[in-house]
């Protein structure tokens, strides 16, 4: 089955300079009861975003009128904790195509890639530059080029290259799917079982 394709993007960014954001913050367990993949964006960062009565908390960045865009930029060790793919679904469903951090938890990174959400790991220095850029100008544009594997702050031209597994890169650019790939090797699997 084809999955979401990602190649290139230019957008403003949403800053979330908090470290160790775990998947319980991205989507709390009590919202994991849905049996489809849709609608999780409504509860993205639920307890940081809304008060107990469900009113938006003004001081949270997603409720701030100045910040919007398709790129979420967060502190290090983003996506730690639970393996819930609902975290990646919630971020993508809300409208983000890219998450940038100086460090990602392994399972989250895999889940994101399997949903056409590109996790970009940058240096501490570049992360700081991104935060500086967005706090200087909330509409600062950032360019992401997957083919050439770079992320660039458009106004200053500062850029950094990022790593991605070549197979996963091909999957994102072409919309390939892991299951199709393994099924194309089904004979090998059956031979393995006979060993």
């Amino acid at each position: 089955m084809a999955t979401k394709i990602f190649k290139h993007l230019q957008s403003s960014i949403v800053p979330l300079p908090i470290e160790n954001i775990d998947t319980d913050q991205i989507i709390p367990a009590r919202f994991l009861k849905a049996t489809t993949r849709d609608g999780f964006g409504n509860n993205l960062f639920r307890d940081w975003r809304f008060d107990k009565e469900g009113n938006p908390k003004e001081d949270f960045v997603l409720n701030h009128p100045n910040y919007s865009g398709k790129i979420l930029v967060a502190g290090k060790n983003f996506g730690c904790g639970s393996s819930r793919e609902h975290a990646a679904w919630a971020i993508a469903d809300y409208g983000f195509d890219v998450v940038v951090s100086s460090f990602f938890a392994d399972i989250f990174k895999g889940n994101a890639l399997n949903n056409g959400l590109l996790p970009i790991q940058v240096s501490d220095d570049f992360l700081k530059k991104l935060f500086d850029a967005v706090y200087a100008d909330a509409h600062a544009q950032v360019e992401v080029d997957l083919d050439n594997q770079f992320i660039k702050i458009v106004s200053t031209g500062e850029q950094e290259t990022f790593e991605i597994n070549p197979y996963k890169k091909a999957c994102l650019i072409n919309g390939y799917d892991d299951i199709d790939y393994i099924l194309s090797n089904k004979q090998l699997v059956e031979e393995f079982e006979k060993r």
Partner: protein, 472 residues
């Protein structure tokens, strides 16, 4: 050059390894539960695929289940629907389900080992990060996302890049009152909640070797809390004795053959690890966390760190965590009043945990200000506890023994810690809201939790044990 235990098991499960591609890794057993599987089954239906190896798939309901009056229908509609969906999916795809009411139902990481499904040298995955628990048997076991659950259902394989290898050795004698939970909380506090990211950990050393299987499971369970993909411990006589005679353990000749193989499962002396860490067991105090990730832990007599001890860019997150917890820098937690005690979860809900707690609280009473929940990890643990009379000891102390499930570990079922309340918990995560919106969690060992239940406040279990020795 010699091989690590991890590489021996990985290599034995590689179906295909191609330059530029992740390996195709064969999965011996796939555990599933109600929360992370429904979308995977939907995916199979959309693709028109069957479950490739239904007999190598084992299901149970654990996250959503109530732990009181389990014989009644689940009250909350969405929870009930999710559990019903699992039943329906298992029936449609031919998967064995140990559902609510079944004699083998329980937390997925408790039932696998106790049924003898978890064995040395095998590969296990589950849509649950604490799948690392099964590594205690000398197996490769790790958590996966739902797209990968679908992948394993469809192919019994997983596309996976080989992680780096880390060895963590703990040597020496533990102090009285210090156990497996303290060891792992100590390690995570030293290397941080991200210190193991990108690695698969092998735990070694004579302290680890001296632990029971239950203790080893507690250690491996929390590997993910340092970011590691998983953790494992080489099998030995303790492992073999534990597996022997269990329901799905090999029998007769098969057993002998299996044991011969298991005895080859260790890291060769000259095996190279990408990282090696060494700790001295004597340095480990009873541990407690003060913050909002499992790396934020201290010895129980230590003080909450000062903000200035962190780098400038970390101070904002640190202050946010302390504010959430209602604590301040340089504070001692000893004597801090608590409201709830939770003894349970896939980290600490096995029979040994319940025995340890029962032995300690026998003849004591819980403090009036505390609500205590003791939640067995499985139906079998519950039955065993009752057979040994532990339920009577718990009841006499004011700790009713509940029914099996994930319970207050994750604020998804009826067992939630109310906003603002402090819970000393034997579970694995102290994230904001983990045990319920605005709940505040102190992670600790079963003994430290039990001591707090008796005194109503954070307590050094060693003082208790010393006094009891004096009284004799």
């Amino acid at each position: 050059m010699g091989q690590t235990l991890f590489d021996k098991i990985w290599d034995a499960h590689v179906v295909s390894s191609k330059e530029g591609f992740p390996d195709i890794l064969y999965i011996d057993t796939h555990f599933i539960h109600e929360v992370t599987s429904p979308q995977a089954f939907d995916g199979l239906r959309q693709r028109g695929l069957p479950v490739f190896r239904p007999k190598q798939t084992v299901a149970t309901a654990d996250h959503n289940v109530p732990t009181w009056d389990q014989h009644l229908p689940i009250k909350e509609e969405l929870s009930r629907y999710q559990v019903d969906m699992l039943t329906k999916n298992c029936a449609e795809f031919g998967i064995e389900l140990y559902g609510l009411g079944h004699q083998y139902q329980g937390i997925v990481h408790v039932i696998g080992p106790e049924l003898g499904i978890t064995r040395p040298g095998c590969t296990y995955v589950c849509g649950d990060s604490h799948t690392s628990t099964h590594g205690a048997f000398g197996a490769i076991a790790f958590g996966i996302g739902t797209s990968q659950v679908e992948q394993v259902l469809a192919t019994q394989c997983l596309l996976q890049q080989r992680p780096k290898r880390m060895k963590i050795e703990v040597n020496g004698t533990l102090q009285k009152g210090v156990g497996a939970k303290d060891i792992i909380l100590y390690i995570i506090s030293k290397i941080s909640a991200a210190g193991g990211t990108g690695y698969f950990v092998e735990y070694a050393g004579d302290t680890i070797r001296s632990l029971s299987m239950e203790g080893r499971m507690t250690i491996c369970n929390m590997s993910i809390e340092m970011g590691a993909r998983g953790g494992l411990i080489a099998p030995d006589e303790t492992t073999i004795e534990y597996v022997k005679g269990r329901k799905f353990a090999p029998q007769g000749e098969e057993w002998d053959k299996a044991v011969d193989y298991w005895k080859t499962l260790y890291s060769d002396e000259d095996a190279q690890f990408d990282s090696e860490l060494y700790f001295d067991a004597a340095d480990i105090e009873p541990m407690i966390t003060y913050g909002t990730n499992p790396g934020m832990g201290i010895g129980i007599t230590q003080h909450v760190p000062e903000t200035a001890s962190f780098e400038a860019k970390e101070q904002g997150s640190y202050t946010k965590a302390l504010n959430y917890m209602g604590l301040h820098e340089d504070q001692s937690l000893l004597g801090k009043p608590i409201d709830y005690v939770f003894i349970g979860s896939c980290t600490n809900s096995r029979i040994e945990d319940l025995r340890l707690v029962a032995d300690f609280i026998k003849g004591k009473q819980k403090a009036d200000n505390v609500t205590v929940w003791v939640v067995p990890g499985s139906k079998q643990v519950q039955q065993q506890a009752i057979a040994e009379g532990l339920d009577k000891i718990f009841e006499a102390a004011g700790f009713p023994l509940r029914e099996p499930g994930c319970s207050a570990c994750l604020g998804m079922n009826e067992d939630k810690i109310p906003a603002g309340k402090y819970c000393i918990s034997t579970s694995n995560r102290n994230f904001e809201g983990r045990q319920g919106p605005d709940s505040r969690t102190f992670l600790a060992s079963p003994l430290t939790a039990a001591a707090a239940a008796i005194t109503g406040k954070v307590t050094d279990i060693r003082e208790f044990l010393q006094q009891e020795e004096l009284v004799g």
